[in-house]
């Protein structure tokens, strides 16, 4: 088995071209899936017998929350690869992940709060999942803050990579300690989000949205990655050719 495909992924011009070619292949399916999922979730799925139409925010909330964790994991893996094999492109991937992940986390928090208002009667409840999500937002902000605080790109890459790896070890610990904390301090929430096994008419749009959000992340990542590579390689000659100037 040859490793040339892997080695080529370390080359900024190659990855730049690859990202440009792949973006529509992820972006268009993402758009179609999200539109289809929204139609299925908002129009086709029946109202919940307890929550009425209020539950429909799950079609944005759950995929955002799912993505917030997946992006962090992707970021930490990319950062680890960059740290171990010293691949600049991997660091560029990690750097591009952070703002996307922070946005998904923020979206999950906002939709969670909006959902909380009709269900719990309050915008904010110290629910373990919401609290973990808030802590995750701070982890993202810390990562971005550390990057912004170090001027030299290579040092920023490696320092933030250490932080991302430390963070990803801590995410499960934080999650379980918060769950434990909450079960000790509070009566169970009014609304258990847990599965009273969703019927297919509700579940299928959710899965479609999940897939759509995952592809959306891929497309956004590729666009950001291209911008990141252009910024980093602004002194190189291949940029002139790639941009056709």
């Amino acid at each position: 088995m040859t490793w040339t495909w892997f080695h080529r992924l370390g080359s900024p011009p190659y990855v730049y071209g690859l990202a440009r070619r792949l973006t529509p292949w992820l972006g268009w399916p993402a758009a179609l899936l999200i539109l289809g999922g929204l139609w299925g979730g908002l129009a086709l799925a029946p109202p919940d017998y307890q929550q009425g139409d209020g539950f429909r925010i799950i079609y944005v909330h759950a995929p955002s929350a799912w993505m917030s964790l997946m992006v962090y994991t992707t970021m930490a893996i990319a950062a680890g690869v960059g740290l171990i094999w010293r691949i600049k492109v991997a660091h560029a991937v990690a750097a591009s992940c952070a703002p996307i992940g922070a946005s998904f986390t923020f979206a999950a928090l906002v939709t969670g709060a909006l959902w909380g208002q009709p269900m719990w009667g309050t915008y904010w409840q110290w629910d373990p999942r919401l609290t973990s999500e808030l802590i995750l937002l701070f982890l993202y902000l810390g990562y971005m803050g550390l990057r912004a605080g170090i001027e030299d790109t290579q040092r920023a890459d490696r320092a933030s990579a250490v932080l991302a790896v430390v963070g990803v070890i801590n995410v499960p610990i934080i999650h379980y300690s918060v769950t434990w904390w909450n079960s000790l301090h509070q009566a169970p929430s009014v609304m258990r989000l847990a599965k009273p096994t969703l019927p297919a008419s509700m579940l299928v749009p959710l899965l479609v949205m999940l897939l759509g959000f995952t592809l959306l992340f891929g497309a956004l990542l590729l666009v950001r990655l291209r911008a990141e590579i252009l910024t980093r390689e602004r002194a190189s000659s291949w940029i002139r050719e790639a941009l056709g100037a």
């Binding site: 550390l146 605080g149 170090i150 040092r155 490696r158 932080l163 430390v166 801590n170 904390w181």
Partner: protein, 249 residues
């Protein structure tokens, strides 16, 4: 650089200029012990600094009776939260002393070049830091708890939980301090990096303190605090060493 510093450095340095070639004069353990002794000696020569985190801890504790209510009954309820918030903030403040001086006068660079295991040396530095700030804070926490209406029977439990928890806090802090080394104004960033990672310690520590105050057994949260400390001792020095190397580049 004063006398104690330079002699300690000489002891640490490998005999050859090219440090990675040939065996260092000292084993990692001896080098780490030397670094530990050096840090303790230096700290005792500037005793004034050691008081600052303690005074800060006492000051934060004082805020709550003034802000909430002087009734001991109400204070006893919030005592675990007050103690652990003060502990987290004081340990954050104390992180400033961990690497700053050694980064400024080049000691850390010498450590990195000495051919000794930087992980072991930083572990020694973190241990010294815990002995100088974490342990005194743990000894003071029961006093603060008593002033907030905790019964005397809670003293051993509080001592243990703060003592164990502060080990992990020092180790997490070492990673944060290593990564922000050399930045001019790193205070706010350092808190943003270390506080989210410290939350499990806060949760289990406050729980242990609460159980100690209400006179129940606190074995379960203490065991979890111990587990976190062991995990920190195992992994954090490597991350701190990586951070210091990156910051020194």
């Amino acid at each position: 650089m004063n006398k104690a510093q330079s002699s300690a450095l000489r002891a640490l340095a490998a005999p050859e200029w090219e440090p990675t070639i040939g065996t260092p004069a000292l084993s990692s353990f001896e080098a780490a012990r030397g670094a530990l002794r050096r840090d303790l000696t230096l700290a005792f020569r500037q005793r004034g600094q050691l008081i600052q985190p303690l005074a800060f801890f006492a000051m934060v504790t004082l805020l709550f009776p003034l802000a909430v209510s002087p009734q001991l009954g109400r204070l006893r309820e919030i005592a675990p939260g007050v103690l652990w918030s003060a502990e987290l903030l004081a340990s954050l403040l104390a992180l400033e002393f961990l690497f700053r001086d050694d980064a400024q006068d080049g000691t850390l660079e010498q450590y990195a070049l000495s051919g000794q295991s930087l992980t072991a040396l930083l572990f020694a530095k973190t241990t010294a830091h815990w002995l100088l700030t974490g342990l005194p804070l743990a000894l003071m926490a029961p006093l603060a708890a008593l002033s907030l209406g905790a019964p005397a029977s809670a003293v051993p439990g509080i001592l243990l939980s703060v003592g164990l928890g502060s080990v992990t806090l020092s180790l997490i802090g070492a990673i944060g301090a290593a990564l922000t080394l050399g930045m001019k104004r790193s205070g706010a960033l350092l808190s943003l990096l270390t506080l989210p990672l410290s939350l499990p310690v806060l949760i289990f520590g406050a729980r242990a303190t609460q159980l100690a105050i209400s006179g129940e057994t606190l074995v379960a949260p203490l065991e979890l605090l111990g587990a976190l400390a062991v995990l920190g001792i195992t992994l954090a020095p490597f991350a701190a060493a990586a951070g210091v190397r990156i910051s020194l580049e």
